[in-house]
Symmetry: C2
Subunit: 524 residues, 2 copies
């Protein structure tokens, strides 16, 4: 079987490769047939050159064309949705229905259409005009963007289809997509459809390029290359920090989404009021997608009392009776099992009974609830914050509110933090004490709601303090704000009217553009 | 004479110091009497602890109190304006009038008052509300901020008075100011007035703290400390990049303004139309403040023709007839002289006649115009972009438009770029070709205007691509946008109404807050 070609400068062509790899079917553990190349620097170099040329052309293209491309791409994804779902299921073992077909695929095309709307109205560019001084500014595209997609959302965070991709393109930047090695075939279909949509919308074909894999050294070299403007990365902390070091050194922005244990604080009044309901709510959230969400609740913080212990036992029982789902890869399986072992070695106790899966096919770990005390946690806060990426969670029992506060203060940056409290007000004083501590350590604070769902909406923050992400001022989900990551601030001082971008002209011809004119937001 | 005390946790107290330093009077070269401490880590450690506590208290303070502090501080600066001007003049040799008293001081207090207005209306926080999903977000203060001020604007960019300071405080963050060693006394007066204003407005006294100097190692350790949230730095590239490396490694945002040669392209039609006028315009801009502006025009790009050569000769003559101003320090003098020598060694020619100053007192270099060809520049673009911080500029004569375009493409990131073109349209085609090249390499693009002035206005961008700054998406000047650097994105998902910040409530009680509600900007 021939090695799959890469997409460089509008051509699917044989890669310059140093080796090949195959994805596995996580449900069986067997390798899938297709062979994908590990590109050498020669491929990257060509892609970078083509990307630069594409960027020059994109800068001249009307925003409308970019919007049309994004919409057409969404249509063309829908045209091959059955094939995408089938292949993604084979490569990731994520359920075809409802997950892939009914949730993730519509989310992905919806996100592309939201990006199109933002491109059309420059909703991300924040045009600002000071008429008296004739000084004007807006965000503009930054240049070629590298996107490294994660393993857990082959569509919605895919490197040639997901949020970073949509944001980078909406701003007017070409993308070099680095496929996640666990679902290269899925990514290939997206790139095929993107190329077709580029042709139909008459944008440069090198606006979207695809490489499957590179050496770590070449990846680091790529994000630091003068031809690259910025990078979006979602994945493991180790690989992300290596890319960050390379990009930082070269002065290149890199937006990282790395890891998060998403603490959930459940106060006594809430357990009293609706403990049984919360057992279901927590179990559903934590086992959804076999727990492989960036926003999976991996740490539950309660007071150490009978109610909390009983709640945790019921969750453990629910975990034991639920079938263990398939994990995305052998790497995820090893990492999860290793994380559980690490916490056990630190003194955590296993509350679930199963230590192995009944169904031993494919990549699986048993649904696992661990527990520890606040005191144990505080004695090794780093160790106890080991991420359990998958179907496992750690319950912490704190001896009092002060210890609970200390635990929260010892947390690293996270994407989300939840507080469940009684509706009748008995927890309000405690909430007032602990919520500010959590607020300072998370990007999104929730009340009475599990963190798993991440709506694609303007006010969303899918981000958070380091090391959850690389910069807490930006979000990876939500239009138009996520687009700002791939933009540069461009000011025009005394520039003649006919030389200004349309959205900065006194007479802007694009309708529906919100602009801050002399301190007042106005829509054109 | 006793060593000057540092301001830590509301107390002026003796520093834990490893040595002392004195500023010099640049006009005479003589050391000034006051001795300032080089703080050891003990001082920094105490300041960091106090800063953290101040931040916890500031988070609870109403925005109005922060606004009142900033306004009161501006008043208290004005109350000691004569003393500030006198001491700053002695420490920097910048002219008392008009520069310090009539330009920089009003700019500084005006900036503080703009920051107060932004704090009052949360103009920087961009509150965003999606009512259907009950998801809300806004920018919130990030935490303790270190500010390293530059030598060239003792008031407007001062670490305890300038733009970074005002922005950090307006967001609700405490500041640890690291004085610039060339004007420690000026900075001390600002800190005294800030402390008085804090007392009057009942904010935590540790909201503003002052250290004069630390070792490089301790500075790097400080910006990477877990208790620090972000850093603002304006100064030399070498010191800035060392701080950046330390902050990057720790995942801390650092906003740097490093260096810029501010290319000015003058097209033939403009020289034809108004060459004589431009001689004056350029000379005034380049020699203002003895050329020590971040936005000083250090590179002039023209075609190689008689008109351009004659223009450059006239500028050189004007430079020769103007008295050479005093430079800020011996370091600036050495660096400027070294830069000129470097360019000469690369083959640049000196167009001015003077190689030494008639008035040899204090820190001075002769006003200098150098010239080179586009070809020379392209052969060593790095070398020819050596910054001449001071009263000197390099003229580049390009053999044709293509070479001019190549020169622009070889430029590093800059704060500004100007194009002068004919009013009658003869340069328009060339403009269309070269302006996009310049646009991609500068933060602010100007037409027919020198870059020196930097208005404090909403649309300003005092920023630009690396290495002019550390992140091209942000500006160091202009309210409210500059405040965003010292903020974190905070999302509230399903949070009960009484637990939301006021600016995110359906019924917001603060007037004049612009919010993006379901896609529409509305003012409360």
């Amino acid at each position: 079987m021939p090695i799959q070609p890469v997409l460089i400068n509008g051509q699917w062509r044989t890669a310059n490769h140093s080796g090949t790899f195959q994805a596995a079917n996580p449900a069986s553990g067997e390798k899938l047939a297709d062979e994908y190349p590990i590109s050498t620097w020669g491929d990257i170099d060509e892609a970078l050159n083509a990307s630069q040329q594409a960027f020059e052309a994109l800068r001249q293209a009307p925003h409308e064309k970019i919007a049309v491309f994004l919409e057409r791409f969404a249509d063309l994804i829908e045209a091959r949705s059955a094939e995408l779902v089938e292949l993604a299921n084979r490569e990731t073992a994520l359920p075809s229905k409802p997950r892939l077909a009914d949730v993730e695929l519509p989310r992905t095309t919806g996100q592309l259409r939201q990006a199109a709307a933002a491109a059309r109205s420059s909703g991300w560019a924040r045009p600002t005009i000071d008429t008296g001084l004739d000084i004007r500014s807006c965000l503009e595209p930054i240049g070629p963007v590298c996107v490294f997609g994660p393993n857990n959302f082959p569509f919605a965070f895919g490197s040639a289809s997901g949020g970073d991709f949509a944001a980078a393109i909406a701003a007017g930047n070409p993308v070099i997509a680095k496929a996640n090695s666990s679902h290269p075939g899925t990514t290939r279909i997206f790139a095929e459809q993107a190329l077709a949509a580029l042709e139909e919308s008459q944008l440069p074909k090198a606006t979207v390029q695809l490489l499957y894999r590179t050496s770590h050294e070449d990846g680091e070299r790529m994000v630091a290359d003068p031809r690259v403007a910025a990078t979006g990365y979602t994945g493991s902390r180790g690989a992300g920090l290596a890319l960050k070091a390379a990009a930082d050194q070269a002065g290149k922005p890199i937006y990282l989404e790395l890891s998060s244990i998403n603490p959930v604080v459940i106060l006594p009044g809430a357990l009293q009021e609706r403990g049984t309901e919360l057992v279901d709510e927590f179990t559903t959230s934590c086992l959804m997608g076999t727990g492989q969400f960036c926003t999976n609740p991996g740490l539950v913080v309660t007071l150490d009392d009978d109610l909390s212990r009983s709640f945790a036992s019921k969750v453990a029982a629910a975990f034991d009776s639920a079938a263990a789902g398939t994990l995305l890869s052998q790497g995820v399986q090893h990492s999860l099992a290793g994380g559980v072992d690490r916490l056990l070695s630190l003194g955590a106790e296993r509350m679930t009974e199963k230590t192995a899966c009944e169904d031993a096919s494919g990549f699986r770990c048993p649904n696992t609830v661990l527990s520890a005390t606040g005191q144990q946690f505080l004695a090794d806060a780093d160790g106890f914050q080991t991420e359990l990426f998958g179907n496992a969670s750690l319950f912490l029992f704190c001896e009092d509110e002060t210890q609970m506060a200390n635990v929260l203060q010892a947390l690293e940056g996270n994407l989300t933090g939840c507080v469940y409290s009684a509706k009748n007000g008995v927890d309000d004083e405690t909430y007032g004490r602990i919520a500010p501590l959590l607020r300072a350590r998370v990007g999104r604070l929730l009340n009475d709601k599990m963190p798993t769902g991440v709506a694609v909406t303007a006010a969303m923050n899918h981000g958070g303090p380091y090391p959850a992400t690389g910069h807490s001022g930006f979000t990876a989900v939500g239009m138009p704000r996520s687009i700002e990551r791939f933009a540069t601030l461009a000011c025009y001082d005394n520039v003649r009217p006919d030389r200004l971008p349309d959205i900065l002209r006194d007479q802007c011809e694009t309708p529906g553009v919100w602009r801050l004119v002399d301190g007042t937001w106005q829509e054109t």
